[in-house]
């Protein structure tokens, strides 16, 4: 087995472990039970067994010299060690990490159940009570089992870096290209350093970034497993995962990519069916359940998406027809789930407070230039992300001009369609101080997309590698 194939299996094993342990643990919480301690080792064992059976085709490319791999590994491990030290030396040292995530982690470590006053009593101070619980639950289970649950943070860093490297290799990149991309992702200052939203800050933004990176790799490689797991986890990590997943499903529906659409819709709707009732349960302190209405809504949406896709395929509909039909489908994918979240959850908390007054966005349209300018400032000029957001733009333009076609169009469209989601919070937020809001939120939103940007850069660069290393085809031989 090559190093690339081994790395691929390790990454898939980790994603399966996160999904199996997280999904089952959240189901236990939703059923008002206590998560058993054996769930973590059992989930990891299942993940390893399933991942070892994975069989994928690898492109015929140069895997590079061992010294390149060793050098890249040394740099990545140095960054991971620093993050691991930061994560384990103290509890979270940044605002939301301490106030929101660590407190929940502490209570779930004592008793991995929601049947305790901290979660159940509305009079007890619980910041962002309706936030997804995957991260605190995983750390809590790790803490109970091994005493070092926060080792999750360096592991997530390795997962994201590995995803970037493996995606480049599987896209036909040389070993050297994959190593360079993985190292570039690893040394990105904001995620590796000690900032709000970085891996050891205790925030869940870097975790969400890993899920988006898995989705991006799945889109680039047309890999259903990565797409399914990444989309499922999106919803269990942070509220933003719900609209991100909606945009992804809408894109695949628009492009008529049935196989990928099924995988993404299964992950997205599976996550929604698990998380939305649990969010309601947290809001009403377990007094009422909405399993059946949510399951009905999700099933109806699945039938509509997959049924309309099949119908449009049968009629041989082109993109233009699908774009017209999207007038109905797009609001159902992008707007309906957050509104359902608002209806079932706490209207004054997390996403609810943003969606409570939708008219606010219209009144604030004049803010748009400032928000776009702020995005350029924080993403490109301040240096926190280095060239993470500039390089894919340049690399894609060069590849488009050089090869006459845009590399990874599926992924490019995903990023473009999701871009308005980066601007929306500022127009919808109850916070009136725009400068402060941009400063505190923008870098965290960029953390969600940093890994995906490196995969996009890789797609542009690996197209070149593929040309260099492609074995001669019969047509080439004839021409020769």
């Amino acid at each position: 087995m090559t190093a690339g194939a081994l790395l691929d299996r390790a990454i898939v094993a980790m994603l399966i472990a996160l999904a199996v342990v997280g999904g089952s643990a959240l189901a236990v919480l939703a059923a008002h039970g206590t998560v058993p301690d054996w769930l973590l080792p059992a989930g990891v064992a299942i993940a390893v067994v399933v991942a070892m059976r994975r069989c994928i085709a690898w492109p015929p490319v140069s895997s590079g010299r061992p010294v390149e791999w060793l050098l890249a590994l040394a740099i990545v491990l140095a960054c991971a060690s620093s993050i691991g030290y930061g994560a384990l030396a103290t509890p979270s040292r940044h605002w939301d990490g301490a106030c929101v995530w660590d407190v929940k982690t502490w209570w779930l470590t004592q008793t991995p159940s929601l049947q305790q006053p901290f979660f159940r009593d509305g009079a007890v101070y619980c910041h962002s009570r309706d936030y997804p619980l995957l991260q605190p639950l995983l750390i809590g289970l790790g803490e109970r089992l091994l005493g070092g649950g926060r080792v999750l943070f360096p592991l997530l860093f390795l997962l994201q870096t590995g995803l970037v490297g493996v995606a480049a290799l599987r896209a036909g990149g040389r070993g050297r290209t994959a190593c360079l991309l993985a190292v570039a992702c690893a040394v990105t200052p904001w995620t590796t350093g000690t900032n709000a939203g970085s891996f050891d800050s205790g925030y869940a933004d870097a975790f969400l970034g890993c899920c988006v990176t898995a989705v991006a790799a799945g889109l680039l490689l047309a890999d259903r497993t990565l797409l399914l797991l990444g989309t499922f986890l999106l919803l269990l990590v942070k509220p933003e995962g719900l609209p991100y997943g909606g945009v992804l499903v809408l894109l695949l529906w628009l492009r008529g990519e049935t196989v990928l659409l099924r995988a993404a819709a299964a992950g997205w709707l599976g996550g929604a069916i698990l998380w939305l009732p649990l969010q309601h349960d947290l809001h009403v302190a377990g007094q009422s359940a909405v399993w059946w209405p949510v399951a009905g809504g999700v099933l109806a949406l699945a039938l509509l998406l997959l049924g309309s896709d099949a119908l449009l395929h049968r009629r041989g509909a082109r993109l233009r027809t699908r774009a017209i039909a999207a007038v109905v489908v797009a609001p159902l994918c992008v707007l309906a789930p957050p509104l359902l979240m608002l209806e079932l959850g706490d209207a004054t908390a997390s996403m609810g407070s943003f969606l409570q007054v939708p008219g606010r966005a219209l009144a604030r349209l004049s803010w748009l230039p400032a928000v776009v300018g702020g995005s350029a400032e924080f993403g490109l000029l301040r240096g926190g992300f280095g060239l993470t957001f500039l390089l894919p733009i340049v690399a894609l333009l060069v590849a488009r001009w050089r090869d006459g076609a845009l590399p990874a169009p599926r992924l490019c469209w995903f990023v473009l369609l999701a871009a308005p989601l980066l601007l929306a919070p500022f127009l919808l937020s109850p916070i009136d101080d725009l400068a402060h809001h941009l400063r505190s939120r923008l870098p965290r939103l960029f953390v969600h997309w940093a890994g995906a940007m490196w995969i996009l850069t890789g797609a542009a660069l690996c197209g070149r590698d593929r040309q260099v290393f492609s074995p001669p085809t019969a047509r080439d031989a004839t021409a020769a």
Binding site: I75, C79, S82, C99, A123, L181, T388, L461
Partner: protein
């Protein structure tokens, strides 16, 4: 020829990002992280509150020393701001709104409501949160 030059520029930008990022690792990443950890270990309350220009670290210190861990602390005021740090800094104490649990009550959810003497007064302790400070009242 021109196209190769453009491709080379992309590779150069990639190398610039790596060199620039790697050059920051010893100082901006490792050293800053060590300093932050040392500062946190010295005094977590001061690290969070003083570090964010919020007042009330001395109130947290006093409560850590004078209120039993398995008690309930009453509070009122702004939900956002300095009070956000209190549940983390005072774990495993629970923070309960005084609108639900009036200061006359002795216990709440099976826990003692925190009482104490401060500034010459004895009674139920009530934290007051504002945007930039935490203060303590004795009722």
């Amino acid at each position: 020829m021109k196209r190769d030059w453009l491709t080379a520029t992309v590779w150069l930008l990639l190398v610039v990002h790596i060199v620039w990022g790697a050059a920051r690792l010893p100082t901006r990443v490792a050293q800053r992280r060590s300093e932050e950890i040392a500062l946190y270990r010295r005094d977590p309350a001061a690290f969070f509150l003083d570090g964010d220009h919020l007042r009330g670290a001395e109130v947290v210190h006093w409560l850590q020393q004078n209120v039993p861990p398995d008690s309930v602390l009453l509070w009122h005021g702004d939900y956002a701001g300095a009070i956000e740090f209190v549940p983390a800094l005072l774990l495993p104490r629970l923070l309960v709104s005084d609108a639900v649990c009036p200061p006359e009550r002795v216990s709440y959810a099976g826990r003692q409501v925190a009482r104490g003497s401060r500034g010459g007064r004895t009674g139920t302790l009530v934290l007051v949160g504002s945007r930039d400070a935490i203060t303590l009242e004795v009722r």
